[in-house]
Symmetry: C2
Subunit: 328 residues, 2 copies
């Protein structure tokens, strides 16, 4: 008879997909699956999808004993109450308790975390910032998600608040964000912001490669188009890259001024073009190295890709277990 292995589940709950992975207590990934959230069909369907996914992935992992579940979810959420309040990317999910039903069904502790925090913790545990004492991770995609890992745990603010480094104000003359700020980092460098800027640049000059790449339809120009056109030397697109690099650089300067981390991990779709932005970012870090060693802080690409969230979520579950029963 095969020996039963203690495991935890790490989940990554997004607007479209939900991923689940089984991890051993030592951090080995034993099985991984994903399914559609179908959020718009209502919380009951979504929760059922999640439950079935967990059972499926546990089945794949073989002879295991489940000890805990960690969930990294698109927010806003309430960790203490275990509820998700996100009718924007999870239509119908307005104050949905996800912790109680899963905990009752699987008879294990369930932890709910912000997805950016979970991704940061994953990169700390098994990725680009393995074991460093202070790690800040940025995920630049539709938004700018950030997590700060201090001494191996997610940094908590007042009332256990998740911090919002991605909404730091960088330029009060910048565009308006839903967060209330003008010129916060997200509204300056997230994908939608870069797409909008590229469309403005394209509208201002008819010769841009952006038009060609979008088949003459301006609505088809997005951040990806802009980065590809910049790579091919298009002047308008290079201005977009310049903008992105400048504000990313200033955001990193502030992260270093506030937190002085050893490592900053960059992930998300926009950061797959980091090589284009890097010269500008490096120049800005160099210039801001009088009081802080900005030029020396390690700025590295995320290593875990889609696995960062499930990995970090699994670690939050392990961290709730009695220390005697774990190796981390």
């Amino acid at each position: 008879m095969a020996q039963t292995r203690n495991v935890v589940i790490g989940m990554d709950l997004g607007g479209t997909n939900v991923r689940a992975a089984v991890f051993s207590m030592e951090g080995a990934l034993l099985a991984r699956r994903q399914t559609l959230m179908e959020a718009a069909r209502g919380p009951a369907v979504g929760l059922e999808n999640v439950r079935k996914l967990i059972e499926e992935v546990l089945g794949l992992a073989g002879s295991v004993a489940l000890r805990g579940i960690g969930i990294g979810s698109t927010g806003p959420l309430d960790r203490a109450r275990g509820t998700i309040q996100n009718p924007w990317t999870l239509p119908t999910w307005k104050d949905v308790d996800i912790v109680s039903p899963l905990s009752a069904h699987f008879h294990v502790p369930v932890m709910l975390e912000n997805d950016a925090d979970a991704a940061a913790l994953g990169e700390y545990w098994q990725g680009a910032g393995k074991g460093v004492r202070r790690l800040c991770a940025l995920t630049v995609g539709t938004g700018v998600g950030t997590g700060f890992i201090l001494d191996g745990s997610i940094y908590r603010g007042w009332r256990g608040l998740h911090c919002e480094v991605g909404h730091q104000v960088l330029d009060p003359n910048g565009p308006e964000c839903y967060c209330g700020a003008h010129g916060c980092m997200e509204v300056l460098i997230a994908g939608p912001a870069l797409g909008k800027l590229a469309r403005e640049k394209a509208a201002a000059g008819e010769n841009s490669l952006l038009w060609e790449m979008a088949g003459g339809n301006i609505d088809q120009i997005d951040a990806r188009t802009a980065m590809e056109a910049a790579r091919r030397g298009d002047p308008a697109a290079l201005e977009v890259a310049q903008h992105a690099g400048r504000y990313l650089g200033l955001g990193l300067v502030n992260i270093i001024a506030f937190l002085a981390p050893e490592v900053i991990v960059l992930g998300g779709s926009v950061m797959s073009s980091y090589d284009l932005l890097q010269p500008i970012v490096r120049e800005i870090l160099e210039r801001h190295s009088v009081l802080m060693p900005s030029r020396e802080v390690c700025i590295v690409p995320a290593q875990l890709g889609d696995n960062a969230g499930v990995c970090g979520a699994a670690l939050t579950a392990i961290q709730t277990l009695p220390r005697a029963g774990r190796t981390i």
Copy 2:
């Protein structure tokens, strides 16, 4: 015979004066004295002044046994090496070891900290943020000094670095600072910045009350003049106050986004006019309360005044002693 009491010394070492105070292990201030640093006469004279000051204040405290010395000093400094590198405000003090000679002379551990960190720790221990888990203190005077106290200790960055929240970038189109940034918080709201802005406003309009208050000499207009003129309703000076309130507010928004502290303590000469800036600051915090509860964070004036530095420095000394021998 009087009972000998265990004590520590807290020192506040500035460009002009050095203060020393004797504290009991329970935090009672037993004696306090200050003297001139006379930094320009060379480190040997300065160190001798410090040594004599400590002996004098110990003498005033009665029958005591010295257990440690904590120093909050104007930086830059190197905590690990115990050296001060500040030829700017302490002329001739370029890489001066202050820890070794004092430790050798008094036979106790000596801790060296940044003065803004010491002041923040003082406000945590006995002042405006007594016992809160996350406290950020801003001292706005000649510069913007900041300290972040997390779970009762000064937050340390990589390599034990002191963080530089006062040099966060708030407006990349702002004036240039020696730190390398354009529009960092210090170059926008510290006393010299407000004085410069007031002189510019005065130069642009001859009817300003600023001229009258400065006796017709523009060089006499400083931050204090501006705040007083604003209080008397002068339009040019009110623009200076508006500027100060706006950028202070945005700086607080970022502090909350990064650290989510329970309490932010405001001290320093410029903050003695906080009542003038408060309406603008409150409006900004209100507007930036979508993701973070900025409007609810407690923004309070510093309570310890000149004693914050010596008080926090004393606590750093106490914190190095074996836990058995202390009550904190």
